[in-house]
Amino acid sequence: MREETANGGRKYAAEDLVDAVVVGTGAGGAPIIARLARAGLRVVGLEAGAHWNPAVDFATDERAQSKLFWTDERLSAGADPLAFGNNNSGIGVGGSTLHYTPFVPRAQPDDFLLNTEFGVGRDWPLTHADLEPYYDELEAFLGVSGPSSYPWGPPRQTDYPLAPLPLNGPAQLMTRGCDALGIRTSPAANAALSAAYFSPGVGWRAACTNRGFCQAGCSTGAKASMDVTFIPVALAAGAELRTESFVTGFEFDRSGRLCGVVYQTARGEARQRCSNVFLCAGAIETPRLLLLNSIANSSGQIGRNFMAHTGLQVWGRFDEDVRPYKGIPGALISEDMHRPVGASFVGGYLLQSIGVMPVTYASQVTRGRGLWGDALTTHMRGYNHTAGINILGECLPSDTNFLELSDETDARGLRKPRVHFTNGENERALTTHAERIMRDIWHAAGAYDVWAYPRNAHIMGTCRMGTDASDAVVDPFGRAFDITNLWVSDNSTFPSALSANPALTIMAIALRTADHFLARAARREA
């Protein structure tokens, strides 16, 4: 682990008034820490986990890498209980970007206007045009590898800075199947380097070695997780990072504004005075912390509107030797189903080829098919001939999907979160549509023993943004309606799910929030 873990480099004392405390160092927090520190502000980032040194600390071993997953227990309720841990939340400097794929399509303009287009769901209080300059900036800074021409969405203002990563076995097979069916495909945009790349404030990062282990941690720094991109920029600009620091509460001044953050460390409770708080702990821990403290909830919306992308996976067996452990896992994309013609559902989905690590696959085939005994071990000996297709699709907010505090407490004595989730009619119709297409693709590609694993992935929406304080928690820039110096920047503010992986959009919104905050500060607005 890196030295900050020992908190040897403490810069600010508890009674120093810093400009901002940022809670969480993932896709929502790290860009803000960097942006504010670069602007000369005094910033402290608090991270519940460690600051790893990937080259030394990361093994190519799924079990050893479970240290990247948020494993404080969550209770999963509803008809489609969600898996957490390896799927949905990360811990450590970098947060979930430590184990994201890193598949980074942009959301499309109509994703932000779901209600306008379909009359259900929710429009965003911001547009694609608001985020486009940030998408451009992020792709250049992170070093996104992508195609020279992208078949879907509005024309791009800039090229991807790097050529796409090579298509691995699953991507070659999906190309074959899609070609036979007339479905367009493209090498996907991935935030991993297809060649050595220089970013200002970061330096050179080496090209991806095709080790296929993104979802259990990148040991080479080729993947643009926050710890190798925004965090070095933040530290160089003077931000202070405190690891192993779990935030439990806040201090308030007489006017009801926040004036400090309270957190737990191995040495006991600690505090930091501050002028502003940015809460970037993700769609479970952010609402949980607000609910535990009974703040910022005059709208009654905290914890509600919980969404999780439809994430059906369809696996097939091939005569070819596929070796699904090699190459960027999500090498190929198709957005032909973004708004499928004649569909009976709202929204749409993207298709993605997927490689898979062996323990992950064994776990899924066990849970999904109930295989055990000789049936299981025979199936697993075909692992090298396995390829998958994944979707990422719309999920509408529903009154029955929400987060609440349970009466059960964790090791810290804090109430565990309980998450209710049931796929609605729209999610089921979308998934049925997708399964038929995906099976067709695999059969056209020559697969046998095709099977589907229903799942949901990516968690969103528990502190949604809006323009009306009576039905949203934060404004369009992430500022809490109830507490004017509290800001939220993470997937919890998403009003709808977007049919795109969330990480790039979380970062774009984070930068937009930071710029808005700095502009207000320049105008000396409270």
Binding site: A64, E73, S76, G85, T209, T366
Partner: protein, 212 residues
Amino acid sequence: MQRERLSLPVRDVSYPAGSLRDLLNGPHVSAATRVALLARIATSTTTEPRFFEPSMFATLRCVCVRFVPEAESICAEVAAMIDARLADGTGNGWRFNDMPSDGDCYRMGLKRIDELSLALHDAPFALLDGNLQDNMLQEANHIGNAPSVRPSGFPARFFEELLVEVVECAYSHPLMQEHIGYAGMADLPQWTTLTLDALEDREPRPLRTSHA
């Protein structure tokens, strides 16, 4: 790099023993990866279980053998991994809302397997032959995977949760990874060959293919 076309159609393959040892002794496995894999191979099976009663631990070991028969030689390790996790009080970040805590679930479920075994066969589960054990587990699966604690005495979803954890532990063991021809741990300095049917020298070749 070699291009090899396997005979068609492949329905069942297996891989040679010893590939893992060669990889671990070679230049393609990082220090951190080698430490993790060697530690797992060295999982102690001689110390007393910390979480389970000895009889319950014996039942768990036997269940592991039935769930993953190819892992019979490492089932003591698999059981020890589960025992260590429960003793340490760590988990995977979530549990079904309708289930008791992981530890209570395991204790209730394994105890119930033995009770059923004594009732039906007059012997604890560990002393039954393999076929009877399989029948017992099918019964546990059948009556246990209900949405609440049933009069059966099995916690809801116990069978599914037990099976998934046993399988995850088994396939995290290098021996089982060798069985499936996995070479992903040997990722230094890089993989250069991603083409279908094209393997790099260090990737294990299937021993045989059987035609179904």
